[in-house]
């Protein structure tokens, strides 16, 4: 029995220590008690918004302690998370040695289902080494962070890595990049690129650190068959008139509901359209989180859509969201940017992947209520890159060579980063079979110059994800609005301990 007593006494002591700690923490938070509030505080938020935007700084470039080995110089190591860039490089980079890489093109020239050998080479014999880590659960960034940190003392150098718009700023301002000018690209090389892709590819001092082969303006892709059924026409211009602003968009949603359809698939579908049109960035100069009015509008609209049954209650990238884009779906449309249409929607719309059946040819695009952009991939040369000239050539060919970029657009429907080229295509009879013969490039060319990248900050990815997931509980009716906002702040500060709730 004595042992039991001892154990009980021990655990009691632990509990007491715990409650003592809890007590002292209460005292701490009691000090600023008058500013603590539950949920969202409009006044504090407004004050925080007016404090000015958060200004990130560019970190000092990592110093290389070890030089790359001979082996490393014969290899060009590229970090990526999916097949998109690989496909572009294999198909369109002229120095890529298709024979030595045992690369086979589909007979009809279409994407996918290609074969490639175990080792891939450039024509001068340099081996291309892909280091592919999936994007889920932040895996890609974790891997990249770890390996870039060790780059200084490693003799196997990473030459290039790819970043997405959402977290580009984290790397561009970080210590692991080599500026585009240092790699060997001049301003005149990049002159034909869209301005926003250069803003997005620059660090806090405005130095260009990354280049992209694509621009990613967004459009609203809708089903022609449902449009005919409900609005009596599938003409993109007439449908655009029905969706020209958010009030009209909501009215169209009500009409679709009556006819037994959904306007949107899920909660987050319209999020990008609102979040790209904010007045204030996510974080202010005092590291306080600012929730923009436009995001509040998204919350109210999505709540209304959910309560009234205008959406199908799915979440972005969920299997049921993908299914909604197929022929069994009852959803009118999806907000998608350039890559989304050829890379995602086209795949989901066909009942048998790659078979051109199902909804192939039954989608069309229109501008939608507001201009926005979504995603995009940038190429970054890493500090310590020991194949500078080859990286420079890849960047030059794939992002500045107008002929190659136009080939990419022809082959993949991707909207490429050449202003003059895209404008040419916009005025020709270029058409997309998947979109029923529509020239979507013309619409993208109109939307692309409207993209504003100035409100994007280093916290966007984490805060967007936290905001969407916290608000979902409010949409499904599990919590009230205040609790949802509390959960958002909580999750945001867990991710970024340096941030604060406004007024706290």
């Amino acid at each position: 029995m004595t042992k039991l007593k001892r154990v009980l006494a021990g655990s009691l002591a632990v509990l007491m220590a715990g409650s003592a700690l809890a007590a002292c923490s209460k005292k701490d938070s009691g000090g600023n008690g008058d500013t603590s509030y539950k949920g969202f505080n409009e006044e504090a938020n407004k004050k925080a918004a007016e404090a000015g935007a958060f200004k990130p700084t560019k970190a000092e470039t990592q110093k290389q302690n070890t030089e790359g080995s001979e082996e490393s110089k014969k290899q060009i190591r590229i970090y990526t998370w999916n097949e998109e860039f690989k496909e572009r490089l294999r198909c369109y980079y002229p120095e890529y040695d298709k024979e030595a890489s045992e690369f086979e093109v589909n007979e009809d020239g279409s994407q996918g289902a290609r074969k490639v050998g175990e080792h891939e080479y450039l024509k001068d014999g340099t081996e291309i080494v892909w280091v592919t880590t999936p994007n889920t659960d932040n895996q890609y960034q974790n891997k990249l962070d770890e390996d870039l940190k060790n780059q200084a003392d490693s003799d196997m150098k990473i030459d290039m890595f790819l970043v997405e718009a959402d977290y580009a700023m984290k790397y561009l301002n970080g210590p692991y990049t080599m500026s585009v000018a240092e790699v060997g690209l001049t301003d005149s090389d990049t002159a034909d690129q869209y301005e926003y892709t250069k803003v997005a590819g620059s660090d806090a001092n405005g130095t260009l650190q990354a280049v992209s082969w694509q621009a990613t303006p967004g459009l609203f892709a809708y089903r022609r068959d449902i449009a005919k059924d409900v609005f009596g026409t599938d003409d993109p211009e007439k449908i655009q008139a029905e969706l020209a602003d958010w009030d009209k968009f909501n009215a169209a949603a009500a009409k679709l509901k009556e006819a037994g359809y959904f306007m949107l698939s899920g909660y987050d579908d319209s999020y990008r359209v609102f979040s790209n049109n904010v007045t204030y960035p996510w974080v202010n100069a005092n590291s306080e989180i600012v929730i923009d009015d436009n995001l509040l509008k998204w919350v109210d609209q999505t709540k209304e859509f959910t309560d009234k049954g205008y959406n199908n209650k799915t979440s972005l990238w969920a299997p049921e969201w993908n299914a909604d884009q197929g022929s069994k779906g009852k959803v009118f449309g999806f907000f998608y940017s350039t890559w989304g249409i050829d890379f995602t929607l086209a795949g989901n719309a066909e009942d048998n992947k790659g078979q051109k059946d199902g909804l192939y040819g039954k989608y069309a695009v229109c501008a939608g209520p507001q201009a926005y952009f979504w995603g995009g991939t940038w190429m970054v040369a890493s500090a310590g890159c020991d194949n500078k000239d080859k990286v420079a050539d890849i960047m030059k060919q794939l992002t500045c060579n107008k002929d190659i970029l136009l080939d990419i657009t022809k082959g993949t429907q991707d909207y490429t980063n050449t202003k003059s080229g895209m404008e040419e295509y916009a005025s020709t009879d270029f058409k997309s079979e998947f979109l029923g013969g529509q020239n979507h490039i013309a619409l993208f060319a109109e939307a692309a110059p409207k993209i504003d990248f100035s409100k994007v900050g280093p916290y966007d990815q984490g805060l967007n994800e936290s905001f969407q997931s916290a608000m979902k509980d409010y949409f499904t009716g599990k919590v009230d609005k205040d609790t949802a906002f509390d959960n958002f702040y909580k999750s945001a500060i867990e991710k970024y301990p340096e941030l604060k709730k406004p007024g706290k």
Binding site: S25, A318, V479, N487, K490, E498
Partner: protein, 312 residues
């Protein structure tokens, strides 16, 4: 002294043979453990994705943040306990039932194949089980397909958007993964009971219910306690299944977020300070539970000794 020196001592070999264990233990267990305690007193994380903050000595600040009412640590502890209990109750019920059936003298079941089948779910990686059930119960998964076909309902049941359906799915997975393990352990315990006890009870006219409650249960009590407490410690570390089912635990107002899932939240900013403090708290809770195990396992044989020495 002279006599002692003459006799050959083999004791040193014993110490030499256990050196490898202690070396491994010190390097891989003790050092990380101590450094966790050490780290928990520092502010140490990465801001904006690349900027190292700290380590700065902050004393007990991390702990006071964890115990502040805003953090709701008790909520996560409660979730962990509820999720564990929901899985453990059916687990112990079915394990006892199967163990007593399989060891029943009169039923004479051939149990080899069953043991393997019951144990199989445990062989699958927990994350894979999570993915499987996530797909099964998703709004357009087979469970909802069947449900909508039978009832003709237009809306699927959204299992992961409700507190108790979400928790139940997690509990089902945990139950399926662990009942086989428990069954085998309880069977071993029951097989260890002298069969003559059952025979004499039957001769005296005891029915199976009576032998179960009066003979089996009291005699396997130590193993039952062992199962209970190891399962409790395992439950305290529950992570992979709810993580996958609830998509990072933020679903439904964080009602299925366990302590370790909360710990994982600090990985995003590599927040060693907060993660260290939380680990220390987990260590203390697990330590108290482990001491209980130790105590109950020890209790078995010293009974005789105690009688000799008298009770204090």
């Amino acid at each position: 002294m002279m006599v002692k020196r003459k006799s050959i001592s083999y004791a040193k070999w014993g110490y030499i043979f256990i050196i490898p264990f202690f070396v491994v233990f010190i390097i891989f267990n003790l050092v990380p453990l101590v450094s966790t305690f050490y780290n928990s007193f520092f502010e140490n994380y990465i801001a904006q994705g690349y900027m190292q903050i700290g380590p700065n000595w902050v004393g007990m600040d991390n702990y006071s943040t964890l115990f502040s009412p805003d953090t709701e640590l008790s909520k996560y502890l409660g979730n962990t306990f509820v999720l564990w209990l929901l899985g453990f109750i059916p687990q112990i019920f079915f394990s006892l039932l199967f163990a007593s059936w399989f060891t029943d003298l009169r039923l004479k079941l051939k149990t080899g194949a069953y043991k393997v089948i019951f144990y199989l779910p445990n062989v699958i990686m927990a994350a894979a089980m999570g993915m499987l059930f996530f797909t099964l119960f998703s709004p357009n998964g087979p469970i909802n397909d069947i449900y909508m076909k039978i009832t003709g309902a237009a809306e699927p049941i959204r299992y992961f958007d409700n507190v108790w359906t979400q928790r139940s799915v997690i509990a089902i997975i945990n139950f399926l993964m662990w009942y086989g393990n428990t069954t085998i352990m309880l069977m071993a315990a029951i097989n260890g009971i002298d069969t003559s006890l059952y025979e004499s009870a039957q001769i005296d006219g005891a029915n199976p219910t009576q032998t179960f409650w009066k003979i089996t249960i009291p005699l396997i009590r130590p193993i039952l306690l062992y199962v209970l407490i190891t399962s409790l410690i395992g439950g305290l570390q529950m992570y992979d299944v709810p993580q996958i089912i609830t998509k990072n635990g933020e679903n439904v107002n964080r009602t299925s977020m366990t302590l370790v899932m909360y710990l994982q939240k600090h990985l995003f900013s590599k927040n060693y300070g907060m993660a260290g403090a939380l680990s220390v708290i987990l260590f203390i809770i697990a330590g108290v539970l482990s001491m209980l195990v130790f105590f109950f396992v020890q209790e078995r044989d010293p009974k005789a000794k105690k009688k000799k020495g008298g009770n204090k």
